[in-house]
């Protein structure tokens, strides 16, 4: 007895336009490509001297972070400021919510300050859906990470980076490049919202093969249903890969018996120079940051020629500008737009 239909439509309005961004799961391919194209336009502006656009002037964007974060929050803040929005940063600690104000009350209080968008990060999976369900009409929710569930802007910036470096060509980046790519996601998939968003995005764009590579303790049950192949050994997992996405390993994973030691994880799953040498010559290396040197990646590899880790950070600003401007209905300036990408 199906009592409730899943509601992938929560983030799309009646005309199919983005009104929240909660997850990449279920997004139409065309829309996903539109976001990437829009991000290309913003990236072009960002590479010029005047990086500011007036498009969101007068709008208010609230960074509502229930988990400590500086990096991600800063990129959202910068993206909003580049678009001339007013930005409010709220770091809400768990202790203040335990004083009695519920999440619902927090949302309603901030809504009353005429905010147009909330960029939300929360440790509970489903928190962004919760805010979107309860937000007043016209108030947008942008998921900046909810539990292990989703981190859609990170997923988008990873897609953006892959498309740029693997889909180059005349007349704009090729979206068909994904059909030829094998992407290996390595590390703590179990706790990773980045891995989940990457997998959804890669799948929507038709990626040839998506792999997750990790010891069984860090692979969630039934992940094959998301369209991935599971490898418990790095050598075979990286064999023939075009893109390697490393995940951050939280050091507290030694607790709870996920792993015996960081050293052993590094030995078996860390990307070292020796392992890098065995990859395809044109393979690229990515990481959502912040990196743990000597754990999932060697320092030399992180800053080596095949690493796109810092490019990812730059792309993150453009992608977040794209999402903010599309949701709030203000596209990038026409002169920044290149011909539409090849679908």
């Amino acid at each position: 007895m199906k009592t409730t239909e899943p509601n992938p439509g929560l983030q799309l309005d009646a005309r199919g336009r983005l009104c929240h961004l909660l997850t990449l799961d279920g997004l139409p391919r065309e829309l996903l490509i539109d976001i990437l194209d829009e991000a290309e336009a913003h990236d072009k502006v960002l590479r010029g001297q005047d990086k500011k656009q007036g498009t969101l002037s007068g709008r208010t964007i609230v960074n509502l972070f229930f988990e400590p974060s500086t990096r991600t929050r800063t990129t959202f803040e910068l993206a909003a400021k580049r678009l001339s929005a007013d930005v409010l940063n709220l770091q809400v600690s768990a202790s203040s919510t335990s004083k009695g104000e519920t999440l619902f009350d927090t949302l309603k209080t901030l809504e009353a300050m005429q905010a147009d968008m909330f960029v939300v990060r929360h440790e509970a999976s489903g928190a962004a859906h919760f805010f979107a369900e309860h937000a007043a009409p016209g108030v947008a929710i942008l998921n900046a990470g909810d539990g292990r569930h989703a981190h859609p802007t990170q997923g988008l910036l990873d897609l953006f980076t892959i498309r740029r470096y693997k889909g180059g060509g005349v007349g704009g980046p090729s979206n068909d490049c994904f059909k030829k790519l094998t992407v290996a996601i390595v590390g703590d998939v179990l706790h990773s919202r980045v891995a989940r968003s990457d997998i959804h995005g890669l799948r929507i764009l038709g990626t040839k093969e998506i792999r997750v590579v990790a010891p069984p303790t860090l692979v969630p049950a039934g992940i094959e249903a998301m369209g991935v192949k599971v490898f418990h050994e790095l050598e075979s997992g990286l064999d023939g890969a075009d893109v390697v996405i490393l995940l951050r390993l939280q050091k507290e994973r030694m607790m709870g018996a996920f792993l015996p030691s960081l050293a052993e994880f590094h030995r078996d799953f860390g990307l070292t120079r020796a392992r890098l040498a065995k990859l395809k010559p044109e393979a690229i290396v990515m990481h959502p940051g912040p990196i743990n040197r000597g754990v999932e990646i060697e320092g030399d590899v992180a800053y080596g020629p095949r690493s796109l880790i810092l490019n990812q950070v730059s792309h993150g600003i453009a992608v977040r500008m794209a999402v903010m401007s599309m949701i709030l209905g203000a596209p990038a300036p026409a002169e920044a737009r290149s011909p539409r990408s090849r679908r």
């Binding site: 009592t3 899943p6 929360h122 292990r148 049950a221 992940i223």
Partner: protein, 445 residues
């Protein structure tokens, strides 16, 4: 004026003695008596609160009231092995004043309350307090499970003998674990000496730690911390091992997995004194229903996969699962207004118990007689209660229902104070027409 206790309400003031139950004749109904196995058109006569006769035809006698029940089914009143009325301690969620009428309207004449109200029912004094509240509310046979350990802490035994003497129908940890295996063993030994049935929610706490959804593809996609099936299976294995050692009678509450049901079946085949129940919603919902973070489907144990649901249905049909219960957990609205993992688990389920179980009959999975058995005699036997049968001389607790009446559940029309149900707007088939408790009509639809 004497200060009132915080959860006193006028609705609970002692009611004047209800008028002497009138005599009642129900004729023409399809009578389902699981004790005798009778399934046919019959007449049931009731006098002075007792069933005087239940026969295909009755001699002409005068009754104060006669009901022509052609097309309706008559069965013993429903015995619900697990319902929480939230009183005392959580009357912002529900109370006897709200839940007793909801139970009566749902054809329920007996409920078993778990001991996890606040304070916990771990002493005769608390048990008497709950019994007094129940007596004041009236109209429903309210039975209580005593706590197995003090404060449900899992460390020291509660006074099981005193609780039994005060009227406890068994002992239980409710949803709380016993982390120390030795305490679990001694609890069974002690309970066995008293002939007390121990109701166990068998879930290995370490394996379930922090989880809120069935481990599988859906929890993985939603990023919800999982509860593996192994949490239940290993819990059941553990308790069965102690049953083998101690001979204690153990009832497994709220099965959710196929492997769990299989273990119970094997133990029963070996003659071990174990029984099991399932919450009605587990027979209809699966983990697919939590998709989109539907907090109304956040329950404990979690909704499992379709294969588990199928196995649970089979176990109900075969009798391995001897009772279907509501696992009623009414909540205030705020309890479900949060991100999924932070919501309180549970469904307000009194009002869907009968129609959901009846749906198994409509789907051809259960005979009407077996349905009546799993809802009345089966649970009554598990709880050691003399109920669930239509023999002459029995207290007249029965329910008359229209098995084909179609209706739509609307939360705003629910009687329970808890409106937390995932079945809002669902078309249901089967409705209670009349509930008779001790010969008195306590609900007439």
């Amino acid at each position: 004026m004497k200060p009132q206790s915080p959860d006193w309400s006028p609705a609970r003031a002692v009611k004047p003695d209800s008028p002497t139950p009138r005599s009642l004749l129900i004729r023409g109904a399809r009578v389902l008596d699981p004790r005798s196995g009778f399934d046919g058109i019959g007449q049931v006569g009731i006098r002075d609160g007792l069933i005087v006769a239940c026969e295909p035809s009755l001699p002409d006698e005068t009754y104060d009231e006669t009901i022509d029940a052609d097309g309706l089914w008559l069965m013993p009143g429903v015995v619900d092995l697990c319902a929480r009325f939230r009183e005392p301690g959580q009357t912002h969620k529900a109370s006897f004043a709200s839940e007793v009428p909801a139970a009566q309207a749902s054809g329920i004449t007996t409920v078993l309350l778990p001991p996890d109200c606040q304070p916990v029912i771990d002493s005769p004094a608390m048990l008497l307090r709950v019994q007094r509240i129940a007596a004041q509310a009236g109209g429903l046979d309210v039975r209580v499970l005593g706590a197995l350990t003090k404060g449900l802490g899992g460390e020291a035994l509660a006074e099981l003998s005193s609780l039994k003497n005060a009227g406890a129908s068994g002992a239980s940890q409710a949803l709380q674990p016993i982390r120390d295996s030795l305490v679990a063993r001694r609890a069974l030994e002690y309970a066995h000496g008293l002939g007390v049935t121990v109701h166990v929610f068998a879930q290995n706490a370490a394996l379930a730690a922090g989880g809120c959804a069935h481990e599988g593809a859906i929890a993985t996609r939603l990023g919800l911390p999982p509860i593996p099936a192994a949490a239940e299976v290993s819990g059941i294995r553990f308790w069965i091992t102690l049953v083998e050692d101690t001979g204690a009678r153990v009832h497994f509450c709220r099965l959710s997995t196929a492997r769990g049901a299989e273990l119970v079946a094997l133990a029963q085949q070996r003659g071990l004194p174990v029984s099991a129940d399932v919450a009605a919603h587990q027979l209809f919902l699966t983990d697919a229903d939590i998709d989109g973070f539907n907090a109304l489907c956040h329950v404990q144990p979690p909704l499992r996969g379709a294969a588990d649901r199928e196995a649970l249905r089979e176990a109900v049909a075969s009798g391995v699962i001897g009772a279907v219960c509501s696992d009623h957990q009414p909540h205030e609205a705020d309890a479900k207004i949060n991100p999924f993992p932070l919501t309180e688990p549970g469904i307000s389920a009194l009002e869907t118990l009968l129609p959901l179980t009846l749906a198994l009959v409509h789907e051809g999975r259960l005979s009407p007689l077996a349905m009546a058995e799993r809802l009345s005699l089966g649970p009554a036997r598990i709880a050691g209660l003399d109920a669930g049968r239509l023999d002459a001389g029995q207290p007249a607790d029965l329910v008359l229902l229209d098995p084909d009446a179609e209706w739509t559940l609307h939360t705003e029309r629910m009687l329970s104070a808890g409106r937390n149900t995932p079945f809002d707007g669902c078309a249901l088939r089967g409705r209670v027409v009349r509930t008779v408790y001790r010969g008195r009509t306590v609900f007439a639809g």
